[in-house]
Structure formats: structure tokens, C-alpha cells
């Protein structure tokens, strides 16, 4: 075939192709964090290849060092100007750096407490660490681009590793089930997202959110319908990843079946990525007045109801759960609703309401969720794991430190004053009021009260004396788990004490 083409205009074709895709201008520091995380994963895999008959400590060491340097390269760029490189594929701005930093933090915390749990569950595969790192790199990609195709690629890199990780406990039926469910539904959601991207490309001829925005033409009805349809499909795809309510059905099953450390990463890392992408998409539509107005008239009501449903259904269904991981799964759905309120408040009135609230809530949500799952991971021993409420019974005798931390996480998840969870909710509440979203603020407040019941149930379970537990004794506390608990519990208070300097540093002047 090629020879035939070459005889007619082969040279011309090759030249045209090379001209159509010129070597882009490259700013290496802007992709250094992602590259570092990916390379750390590769190094971890090579370490596993070189010494498959050793324990995972070297891999963990490499992973944590790699993440540390990725975080360092992110923080060193905080003062640098915003820029786009790689032909508009990679964007560096405050938001992308902050979100990437959150993802790096979440990954580090997950890796820190994983090995003890994986050993107790008898699945300490060395491949866990590279997969988590690559998954994290996907979430980082989602935050650091305005190109829809890059966002899609980020979602896929994030998800495909997670599909494997969810099924890592190969001999457990529920782990297999969760991997299969996650994979099938995730593939379906990705197709929606891609179809939406295709519509937006068809309407505007570009995949870049800025170009899409400037191509907006409200008078052309066909164009407008295509855009709205595309945007709707994209929201479906992202809402699935973020587990908003009509698209949440996979969450409890997958969270329950996947190994607990994977669930922790899913609940925090994957949600951060999805929220970042959603924010990029929605905020791109607000900066143009016309598009913003149309967007709000069509999609604001939809998202408004999605937010109400997500908060309410998440909390109501959590009330009747008998499994701690399922309860935390529904709780993560409810928290996704709270975060969506924060995003909507920003989208509704970008002048008055900044992005700081969402970033702060994501930070505090990650800390408390990972901490709670880390404590729940203590119920695994000798390859068995019970995650029902009864299986937590008597935990306070076996590891008082873990239960002490659990109380902090639960208090923060409820939103009791000195914790970051309280301030996060307060900020979202204020933002919702400031941008005329009074009903959402009220629903949020009511739901916070509702959620007290099941969160207290989790804490109470740890204090009841052991009788009905199926696993008579839980795994001993290990150093990594203690470190994770300490960092998360300490962080919940630290982010409140250091609120002003932290927010100045993370999102610039508020």
C-alpha cells in the first residue's frame, strides 16, 4: 500500500503529515511530576523483577522516594507562571499543581499502610506498587490538561490500573466480582465520555477547551444542540467516575469487594481526578458569557438535582448498611455530593466563589477517608477479612491507637468542629449561600445531621466487646499503618491550624 502511495504522492504525504504534527515546544518541568511518578512505577516493577523472592520493602522505599521527589518538583513550580506545552496537551497552572500534589499525597499514604494489610491478606504482590503509581499518574494527567483527549487518556490510565487492583485478591469471589463490575461499567462510562468528546469535536473542530469555548456560537441551533449533547454525555462519563447518584450503583459493590487499601486509593485518588476533570470542564464553560448562560440554563438544573440526590441517597442508604466498607462507600458518595455543591457554587458565581473550598474539601476528605479505610484494614488476618460491623468489635482493646485515630476520622467525616471536615462543610455551605444556591446549602446541612448516625455506628462498633466477630483476632498494628493513621489524624487538625498559610500556598490568595 505504501509503495502505491509513494508512487503517486508519497513524499508529499509524508511531508504534509510531518508539517501537520510539528515537533511541539516542550517545557520539561511541567511534565516532570507525572514522568517521575510513572518512572518510579517502572523502577518499582524492575525491582520486583530483579528480586521476586524478597519482601516488598525495597519497592515501597523506591515508591515513597519517587513520590517525594514528584511532590518536590510540584511545589518548586508553585511560583512559576502558567503555561501550556507539548502543543497544548499539558497545562501547568495553580489548580493542576495543587491537585497533582493531593494525588501524590494520597498515593503515598496508601502505599504506606498497604504492605501490612497485603501480608495479612496473603496477597503481597510486588506489582501492587507500580500499578498504584501508574494509576496515580492517570489522575495527575486528568488535572493537568485542557485537552479533552488528554483528560480521557488520564481517566483510562487511572481506571485500567484500578480494574486490575480491584481484582488483586484472586481467590476471593467478591474481589473478582468487584473487578468485573468495575471494568464493565467503567468501560461503558468511558464510551459515554468519548462519545461526548467526539460530539464536541464535531461541533467545534477542536479538542482543546479554550478553542471549544471560543468557537461557541449561540445562534446556530444545530451547533448548540451538538455541544449540549456532547457536554451531557461527558458529564455522564465523569459523574460515573466521581460516583454521583444516578451513576453510583457500582460504588458500594466495588468498594466492598476490592482489597481495602485499593478501596482507600479509589475513594480518594480516583475521586480527586474525576472532580478535577469535572471542574475543568464546567469552569471552561463559565468564562464565556454566552456559553456560560446557556450552560447554566440547561445543565445547572440537572447538576443541581444530581447534587441533591447524591447527598441524600448516599446518606440514606448508608444508614442501613451492615458492612463498614459499604458504609464508607456510600459515605464517599455523599461526600462527592458535598464537593459537587462546592464546584457548582464556583461555576454559578466564579467572581465571588473561588476554587479554594473544593481543594480544601478534597484535601480533608482524602485524609479522613484514607485514615478510616486504613483502620478498617486492621480486620484482615491470615488471608481472611471480615468487614462487617461485628468484625470491628473489640478493636479498642487490641489497638487503642488505631481506634483513637478512627474517632478523629469519624468526627471529621461527621463534621464536628475542631476537625477539618467541619471547616470544609462550613466553607461549602457559605459558598453555596454566596452564589444563591440556598436549597443546596440546606440539603447539605440536613444530610450532615443524617450522617451522624452511621458514622457513630462505625466508632461504636470498635468499642463493643468482641463476641460476634468472625475473625477472632485482627492483625497486629504495624509501623506503616501507624504512620498512616498518625499522618491522617494529625493532618486533619494541622490543615485547620495552618488554614491561612496553607490555603495561600495551595491556591494563591483567596
Amino acid at each position: 500500500m505504501y509503495n502505491l502511495l509513494a508512487q503517486t504522492d508519497g513524499n508529499g504525504l509524508a511531508k504534509r503529515l510531518a508539517e501537520a504534527f510539528p515537533p511541539p515546544t516542550i517545557d520539561w518541568p511541567s511534565i516532570l511530576p507525572i514522568a517521575l511518578v510513572v518512572c518510579t512505577g517502572i523502577v518499582a516493577l524492575i525491582v520486583e523483577m530483579l528480586r521476586p523472592r524478597q519482601n516488598n520493602n525495597a519497592i515501597i522505599g523506591f515508591s515513597l522516594v519517587g513520590l517525594f521527589f514528584a511532590g518536590l518538583s510540584l511545589t518548586s513550580q508553585f511560583a512559576s507562571p502558567d503555561l501550556e506545552s507539548f502543543g497544548g496537551m499539558v497545562l501547568r497552572d495553580r489548580f493542576s499543581l495543587t491537585i497533582q500534589l493531593l494525588v501524590v499525597m494520597v498515593t503515598g499514604l496508601t502505599i504506606l499502610f498497604s504492605d501490612g494489610y497485603l501480608r495479612a491478606k496473603r496477597i503481597p504482590f510486588g506489582e501492587f506498587y507500580p500499578l498504584v503509581l501508574w494509576s496515580a499518574s492517570g489522575a495527575m494527567m486528568m488535572a493537568s490538561s485542557k485537552n479533552l483527549l488528554m483528560i480521557f487518556l488520564g481517566i483510562e490510565v487511572l481506571s485500567i490500573s484500578l480494574y486490575v487492583l480491584a481484582g488483586m485478591s484472586k481467590t476471593e469471589t467478591k474481589s473478582e466480582e468487584s473487578a468485573l463490575k468495575y471494568f464493565l461499567l467503567g468501560a461503558f462510562a468511558s464510551a459515554f465520555l468519548l462519545y461526548g468528546i467526539a460530539f464536541m469535536y464535531g461541533a467545534t473542530g477542536s479538542l482543546h477547551l479554550d478553542a471549544i469555548r471560543s468557537a461557541w456560537n449561540p445562534n446556530d441551533e444545530a451547533f448548540r444542540n451538538m455541544m449540549l449533547f456532547g457536554m451531557g454525555l461527558m458529564l455522564f462519563g465523569l459523574a460515573f467516575k466521581a460516583a454521583f447518584v444516578p451513576f453510583h450503583q457500582w460504588t458500594p459493590d466495588v468498594y466492598q469487594g476490592a482489597p481495602t487499601n485499593v478501596t482507600a486509593f479509589m475513594a480518594a485518588g480516583s475521586k480527586i481526578g474525576a472532580m478535577a476533570a469535572l471542574w475543568r470542564l464546567l469552569s471552561a464553560s463559565t468564562t464565556n458569557v454566552d456559553l456560560g448562560a446557556t450552560f447554566q440554563s440547561y445543565w445547572m438544573p440537572a447538576l443541581f438535582w444530581i447534587a441533591i440526590l447524591t447527598m441524600t441517597v448516599g446518606n440514606l442508604v448508608a444508614l442501613v448498611q451492615k458492612d463498614v466498607k459499604r458504609t464508607l462507600g456510600y459515605s464517599s458518595i455523599a461526600h462527592a455530593g458535598y464537593i459537587l455543591v462546592g464546584i457548582l457554587a464556583h461555576v454559578n458565581n466564579p467572581e465571588k466563589v473561588g476554587i479554594g473550598t473544593t481543594v480544601f474539601y478534597l484535601l480533608s476528605y482524602s485524609l479522613m477517608t484514607i485514615g478510616a479505610f486504613a483502620v478498617v484494614s486492621l480486620t484482615a488476618k491470615n488471608g481472611k477479612e471480615g468487614t462487617r460491623f461485628e468484625d470491628l468489635h473489640g478493636l479498642w482493646k487490641r489497638s487503642p491507637f488505631a481506634v483513637g485515630c478512627l474517632i478523629v476520622f469519624v468526627a471529621s467525616l461527621i463534621g464536628i468542629p475542631p476537625t477539618s471536615g467541619f471547616f470544609g462543610k462550613l466553607m461549602i455551605f457559605n459558598d453555596a449561600l454566596a452564589s444563591d444556591l440556598m436549597p443546596l446549602a440546606i440539603v447539605l446541612a440536613v444530610n450532615s445531621v443524617l450522617s451522624v448516625y452511621y458514622y457513630v455506628g462505625i466508632a461504636k462498633a470498635a468499642f463493643v466487646d468482641a463476641e460476634g466477630a468472625r475473625t477472632p483476632e485482627s492483625a497486629p498494628m504495624n509501623l506503616g499503618l501507624a504512620a498512616t493513621c498518625l499522618l491522617c489524624a494529625g493532618g486533619i487538625f494541622a490543615v485547620v491550624i495552618l488554614f491561612n498559610p496553607l490555603m495561600n500556598w495551595l491556591v494563591g490568595a483567596p
Binding site: L17, A18, I42, M49, R53
Partner: protein
């Protein structure tokens, strides 16, 4: 029409080759039939039975690895087509990019070979060192058997 003559030739060739493969093996092949060979898939998975039984995934593993090789060649082919006649700046850049891709590829292949993913008879299990336990080779036989029973299966 003239532009499409090449495609017509391609379709024709493909039809001839496919037809030849099917018909010649039917005409020339020895016909020793057994009930097992007569089943819809003579190799691989037993087509009838309980859907929940365990079955070997080796065929799928090999197929997946083969597809990856295929895709790699497709990428390299299209890249080389452009690479041949492009200017130096493009050549250097795209060469670097493709080399990154190839290095990742080779590491992946090394990993596949290292974990015996394409060994037909290998059953792998976790080494006790991963679990933070002593090497079973160093233990007396009975203790070692207990290790394996409670081990990472």
C-alpha cells in the same frame, strides 16, 4: 475508479488467500475425527458445562500478548512512513518519543518473561519472603507442608 483499483486488488487477494486456506485444508488435510475434535472449539475451553467453573486463561494471555505485538508494529510502521522523508528536527523529536515507547515496551516484555506468563505448565505462587515469613526450604518437611497449605493460594 482508477484510484480504488489498488483496494479492489487487495480485497481480491484477501478473498483468494482466505478461501485457499479454508478450502485447501479441507481438501488436503488428513481426516482423523474424534468427538473432541468435532466440538466447536477443538482446543481451549470445553464449550459445554457450568459457566462458573475455572478454566485456563493461557490462551487468552497469549492472544493478548500477541495483540500487543501487533499494535506495536502498527505504530512503528506508520511512524517510519513519515520519518523517512521528514526534516531533521522532526526526526530527532519523533525518534526520541518512539524510543521512550520502545523502552517501556521492552521492559514490559522482560516482565512478561520474568513472571512466566507465557510458560504453559507453570503454576506460580508467592514466595514466603513476600509474606515476611521464613523460607520453607529452610524448614523441616512437615512445617513446610503446613506453610504451603496456609500459603498464598
Amino acid at each position: 475508479m482508477g484510484d480504488y483499483i489498488a483496494i479492489v486488488i487487495l480485497v481480491g487477494l484477501a478473498a483468494v488467500i482466505c478461501g485457499a486456506m479454508v478450502s485447501l485444508s479441507f481438501v488436503l488435510g488428513p481426516k482423523n475425527t474424534t468427538p473432541y475434535k468435532q466440538s466447536p472449539y477443538e482446543c481451549g475451553v470445553q464449550p459445554l458445562g457450568d459457566a462458573r467453573e475455572r478454566f485456563p486463561i493461557k490462551f487468552y494471555l497469549v492472544a493478548m500478548l500477541f495483540i500487543l505485538f501487533d499494535i506495536e508494529v502498527v505504530f512503528l510502521w506508520s511512524w517510519l512512513t513519515v520519518f523517512k522523508n521528514a526534516d531533521l528536527a522532526y526526526q530527532t523529536f519523533s525518534f526520541g518519543a518512539v524510543m521512550v515507547y520502545m523502552v517501556l515496551w521492552i521492559i514490559g516484555d522482560a516482565y512478561v518473561i520474568r513472571v512466566n506468563a507465557i510458560d504453559w505448565d507453570e503454576t506460580t505462587s508467592l514466595h514466603p519472603a513476600k509474606l515476611g515469613e521464613p523460607d520453607p526450604a529452610a524448614l523441616p518437611v512437615t512445617a513446610r507442608d503446613l506453610e504451603l497449605v496456609g500459603g498464598a493460594r
